[in-house]
Symmetry: D2
Subunit: 233 residues, 4 copies
């Protein structure tokens, strides 16, 4: 196992669900580590902010912050800054999640801060248009998540496949080095397979994993589906 | 004279300076119209919000809103929406000015609202990176304004010419139909000429015009310089 | 008729409904003026931002802005400032509407700006707790609107009478000079009567008036109910 | 030593200064604990977010979060919520710091969230007017910090003593159970003494401690001055 990112990638956003706070953050991260090890598929976890440091110590998979503010170290109160994310040993950060939207200028600054501190950026966008803008900003990873589908269990890969393929094509044209993930509504191995078939290199999901009755079973199914779809590409 | 945009373009943001409110908004807009007519150079004005409707009635040059919110008509209070900007007869809107930054997702929505209502978007960005993102969003016009230079009288074209040329090149590569303006610190005819020499199609300025002792003289000098630089291209 | 405020007060927020933009803003304001004249009840209108100046010219009733930003005149783009609201002849402004929430420090600044420019503040709050805070800030008028009821047609006076009476009592204790209005879900004369019976001095409503099939009939019924309830106090 | 709050109180906001991240957060917190023990004066520390959990484990003094978002556990990304602050063992949270201003409605919600989770609220305000509003919201502690003095080394207790006394009086009138601290520009034992003489029950400071050449010496001087001033009351 390793903290390095590889593809296909299953990225797990724990949000601040009660099921993902404190001991649960550790438990859900350990399961992710186990599945990653078993299947040889990269699984990344993004625990709630105050559990980030502890999770990093507990598992040997990539751990991300859920958010970073566009500030340098200094006179800012209650902000999560890149230097601190780095200091606790995390690998990168989600940026501009639909539940934590940033101003364009601030996204520019956050990406710069992450680059300077050696952290990986996973930038979220919502439409083909903003995905183009996102690609132009050159994050390592870009996740397209139409916000109307988040938490619905209706995968964007099924509800709006043209958004996914449109986003993938646009990104390849503007910056082919950007890895594209598919988010919003991903809740089964089938959804993961479909996402990869549409040209993405993985998925970003949250509630389906955090609230699963059997998170290990769910994630194992996803890892298996991801591998198979990946081989068929 | 006409409400159509053409290039080179001198865009005047009146902000909410006391010198640009009420009767002053009309006066400064009429001077802009006169200079535009005299020199045959397109001059656009963006008066304070509550004076927008009246200014549109008074002059035959393009009039822009300074801002538009990312909403459709409906249950929103105190917002400036595209439909109302259109209804009062304005030609377009400044979007994401450094004094009114928007979230990336909202910029996407605002540009869509402007397109749907037949309004022209003048999108502001601050760095070469965010200018690339801006170009990917396909506004008609893009103004690059490093915020640290706004209101300083130090033109970006002199202080950071590489930002301007970098932005122009990046825009041409990503979307060559986008017109690039140079903002921040433009205060003389020389600054305007220099901006056009660096590859832009005009300038966006505010305090230098609004607070000029003799706005007509200043704007005439800028119009003349713009024309000469434009011919040399 | 007069631009002076008196009580009971019926305050009409036009929001940016399509039915309230441009000519419709004038039409709905004229109806408000007619009803106000006919019944001798004060009716205030808050038209969409870009129609504010024109509406002020057309009617002899109090006209309010829907929002004011916490800035002095100067280098601010796309902001609505107190000086401009005053310059177009409006009487005051709604502050902190649930669709345009402000930070506490900014509410403090906006109220100061309104006082300095001779404008009347109608501050919106959402709970008994924030209403206490609102009263401590000494606006002329305070409207309590539980946001979950806005636009529902379920009046707060019926759904949560204890919120209204709690707010009225708290305000009287902290600052008895503040006039309390009842907002959210007000859609009939009965709702208006009930609001006044609970101790308020009027109502703030939006969609019920703007989207009424017969706005004059609706408002007349409200004016009549307001007067009767007022006499019974 | 104890995690209970008592007065006089010296509250130390570490912000996200480089000097206060990671190991430094622990070190500065241990010094605070030592001084607290030695002088019997309550010292509270608010470390950077990602270091909060670790600091709580290391010291036996009250530890606060620098910020809390107005959300319940659930579908929120990158937010700091009361339940997680409680779960890591912290005692409370700073709310509405001038570098993290909240909307009035959100302050209402945050205070409710803190009460429900058994955490103590330290609410920051900036003027006598917003301090009144703050007092009406009934936080346990209220810190008045005119933002123009933060980080200047000019104590509000000297620059604007009338703001401090005005705030203290207003708070006592509206809610006498609220403890008032004095913030902004506190950098010496004298400043602490002066703040207490003006009627406050302690101070909130940041850079003076975090960036002190000898933090222990500085804090010891403050603790001593606080005790003496407290006895003279």
């Amino acid at each position: 196992m390793t903290k390095e990112l590889s593809y296909p990638l299953i990225a797990l956003n724990f949000k601040v669900y009660l099921e993902a706070i404190g001991e649960n953050a550790i438990k859900l991260s350990r399961i992710a580590e186990e599945v990653s090890k078993e299947y040889g598929v990269c699984v990344m976890v993004a625990p709630p902010p105050l559990d980030l440091a502890q999770v990093v110590k507990e598992v040997e998979i990539p751990v991300f912050s859920q958010h970073v503010d566009p500030y340098k170290p200094g006179s800012h109160t209650g902000s999560i800054i890149a230097e601190e994310v780095k200091a606790v040993g995390a690998s990168g950060s989600i940026v501009n999640h639909s539940e934590h939207r940033l101003r364009l200028a601030d996204i520019g600054m956050v990406l710069e801060r992450l680059r300077e501190t050696g952290l990986t950026a996973l930038l979220c966008t919502d439409t083909v248009e903003t995905t183009k803008a996102g690609a132009a900003l050159s994050p390592e990873i870009l996740a397209i998540e139409p916000p109307e589908l988040i938490g619905t269990g209706i995968p964007v890969s099924k509800a709006k496949p043209e958004v996914v393929t449109g986003a993938v094509e646009a990104v390849k044209r503007i910056n082919p080095r950007v890895h594209v993930l598919c988010g919003a509504g991903i809740s089964t191995g089938d959804d993961v397979a479909k996402a990869i078939e549409l040209g993405t290199e993985g998925v970003l999901l949250a509630s389906a994993y955090v609230k699963a009755k059997d998170p290990k079973k769910l994630l194992s199914g996803m890892a298996e589906a991801a591998l198979k779809a990946w081989e068929r590409r």
